[in-house]
Amino acid sequence: MVTAILHLRKFRLVVLATGFAVVVIFSSTVRADDAPPQIKWVDGHFEPTAFNVPAGKAFKITVTNQGGSAIEFESFELNRERVVQPGETITVNLPKLDPGQYHFFDDFHHEVAQGTITAQ
């Protein structure tokens, strides 16, 4: 009788753990598919300065300017040039990329380090 109860508890634990794992995996997949990568301009620099995107798939990124003056999100390799006013968030459409690295920078603040998008 005691052994049967212990088996039942183990079974419940396995079911719960499996369910939890499924929820975690599912939610992270949904996040990766649906939520565009976000870049923030904070304290005079981009955050993050590097992130990955899937190659061969069009995607969007959002750029939020949390600073006190306008920035210009620009990338020669991605052919994008967008002004972002303080407090504004913009969405940038990007085409399918070949695997590789694509740099972006703030054309209004050249002294700031470039960021890198890696398509893989």
């Binding site: 052919n79 459409n93 085409p95």
Partner: protein
């Protein structure tokens, strides 16, 4: 003197490419505007650069290649389709064209003595401004 001549000869051996990249899609503009762009802008802002003979002679070639590469990075009329899926980028490029035409910073002053045909008249500037305004309006509706 002799050392200078040797250096001049040796720098010609530094490999430099002045091959124009392929055109993916030229900017769409009315014939009059297209003619102005080709005459005044295309040497540095397209993949249809007309390289003069001295573009093959170092160190002039180095400076020309640098300027053309920078020009293409900022705006390239031969790959306009690459901006097209982000209308706000197209609008930004158009505003930049208008700005540099109106403030006279383009064409570059040192380009003009050898390319007087690139000089913009008041009528050219007006035609470009009208085109920019119309294009921004149509991009805004997309």
């Amino acid at each position: 003197m002799a050392a200078g001549a040797v250096v001049c000869v040796l720098i010609q051996l530094v490999p430099m490419s002045i091959k124009n990249p392929p055109i993916s899609e030229d900017v769409a503009a009315p014939p009059q505007v297209e003619a102005i762009l080709r005459r005044s802008c295309y040497d540095c802002h397209s993949n249809q650069t007309q390289w003069p003979w001295y573009a093959h002679v170092a160190p002039v070639s180095w400076l020309m290649i640098r300027d053309v590469n920078r020009g293409r990075e900022h705006i390239n009329f031969s790959t306009w389709d690459k901006y097209a899926d982000d209308p706000e980028t197209v609008i930004r490029k158009l505003r930049n064209i208008d700005k540099v035409m109106q403030n006279g910073s383009m064409p570059l002053w040192y380009y003009l003595p050898e390319h007087s045909i690139a000089r913009l008249s008041d009528a050219d500037r007006q035609a470009l401004e009208d085109w920019v305004v119309q294009s921004i309006e149509s991009e805004g509706k997309r």
